[in-house]
Amino acid sequence: MLLKLSFSSLYARLVTVGMTILAISVSLMLYMSVEKLRTSAYTSFTDTISQTDLIVGARASSVQLLLYSVFRIGNATNNITWESYLDLVSKEEVDWTVPISLGDSHKGFRVMGTNKEFFSRYKYRGSQSVSIDKGYLFEDLYDVVLGAGVAEKLGYKIGTSLVVSHGLQSFSDHDDQPFRVSGILKKTGTPVDNTVIVSLAAIEAIHVDWSTGAKIPGQLTPIDEIREMDLTPKNITAALVGVKSKLTIFQLQRWINEYPEEAMTAILPGAALQELWRVVGVIENLLLGISVVVIFTTLVGMAAIMFSSLSERRREMAIWRAMGASPFTVIGLLMLEAIFISILSITFSVVLLFCVLNLLQPWIDYNYGILVNIEMLAIKDMYVFAVFIIASITVSLLPAIRAYWFSINDGMTIKL
């Protein structure tokens, strides 16, 4: 009876109540999407590289090295020489290494030179490895393997020919040595999707006629001649390293960090990622803080709307009293109203959240490479909802008490 009464009362004020519900749901949705984004970003980042024990590059901060070598964000400070790499390979602690060479691009996608071992050694999401979807890995010097995202966005197929640009933002192309797409990888949800992969020798080959960042004018070595050349790289950008025993990781890391011939840095990918997250965590907390404040503001807004509606509803309350409702029933009715509003808002915000996530997911994935996992609500969300309902009841107590006073003072006759 009380429920029905409260519900019809709300229904009678559809527009104001509707707006309140909208405001609350949007703020709740904001909170939940921030929470979803941050958990998704974290798992997406941590799942990007696994089973690689060390990443070695030129002397840099660990976060920087991690970002450019794994996430293709930012640039290397320096390269490391092939000699140092060979020194590293010959260390007895080392089980395997995969050299990678970065620096060129194709239509905004980074080009990475590596060897075939990359495809078997690079692991993500625990122990998943990169596998070929169509075609084959590079066999010829000018074969190129595309990440799923590159092929999809540029509409490339097996056999498409493409030209690598020098540098990341440049107008000079290596157009004298076109490549041919030999393989397309399956989607991984990692930065590999947005990478154009060639062999290390190919990186060396396209730079044969280049010197210190510019093409040597008039010099054009014929491709047949290049094929005959020794295309062992002179330097690489970074190397992924696996060790035989985890117990020797730190010993090897120290050896690399103190390597006297060249300034190098070795990082543990997970440790560097955690370091990065301690920085990002501050911003995360800020965002969370802001959304909590937004929720609080809307709660106060709800109370304000209830307050202002009270004077309009003195007549309604007088009728309730005339029908035999006690002043406590009036309090109860208002609190029920608040509960109704919050439950409706929660439901609506969840619907809104899934709509927004579904709409934005491809865009976030495309632009930031973060796969937002749209799954059912976690238990944690339920707690948040419970806290929210309790908070809205508490907030509604103030107008409810005021209504109680009104109904005691006014009785059945209203002196407006």
Partner: protein, 212 residues
């Protein structure tokens, strides 16, 4: 011909200079920040501490006076008993297999395995330009520098554990044992992967649930 010899001398001098430049590296050193590496494989867990002297005894020069030497020895003694430094959950049943405690003076950090390479460097000196190399004397003032050098406490502990997965938390009495200590930067690796922690005295533990 004679000119050629001069040129080659000049070039070799240049080479040796650049070689010297390449090897001119200094370890980072930060007061108040100790490093700890933890590695787990199978039933074995290894701890490596590198703690700046300031965090332990309050100074970083080589201890020469009796009182300083006493301080350093007392500190080393504390390191001998790992219970003063960290504690593992009892249910993990870990037994100390090996430990090495010591002090690194200056930057002879890499005193173990790198000796061979130093020998290689010596070859450089055998080149013809002995005169240029007379700046060895300059190297001697390193000794003076040692007065302001940074010493570092180094401690290795290896354990064998009956039930290694029971280690869900490692706490660090280290912070109370050495009141001068600042934070500990921890790198951790197990078969599951690696991670890092920053540990400070107000929360002197790391949580390893699901990481071993």
């Amino acid at each position: 011909m004679k000119k050629n010899i001069y040129y080659s001398l000049l070039i070799s001098a240049m080479v040796s200079v650049s070689a010297a430049e390449e090897t001119r590296q200094v370890d980072k050193h930060e007061h108040g920040v100790g490093e700890l590496n933890i590695a787990i494989e199978g039933n074995a867990i290894d701890f490596e501490f590198f703690i700046p002297g300031a965090d332990i005894v309050g100074f970083e020069y080589e201890a020469k006076t009796e009182s300083d030497i006493a301080l350093v020895n007392a500190a080393l003694e504390k390191f001998e008993n790992f219970d003063n430094i960290f504690s593992l959950s009892e249910s993990s049943n870990c037994n100390l297999v090996n430990s090495e405690i010591g002090i690194n003076q200056d930057d002879d950090h890499d005193d173990h395995d790198d000796h061979d390479e130093h020998d290689e460097h010596d070859d450089h000196d055998n080149h013809d330009d002995h005169d240029e190399h007379d700046d060895h004397d300059e190297h001697d003032d390193h000794d003076e520098h040692d007065e302001e050098a940074h010493n570092e406490f180094v401690a290795h502990y290896s354990f064998n554990c009956g039930n290694i997965k029971e280690i869900d938390r490692i706490s660090f009495p280290y912070f109370t044992t050495f009141p001068n200590s600042g934070e500990l930067e921890v790198q951790f690796v197990s078969e599951i992967g690696s991670t890092s922690f920053e540990v400070e005295g107000d929360e002197p533990f790391i949580d390893l649930k699901g990481k071993i």
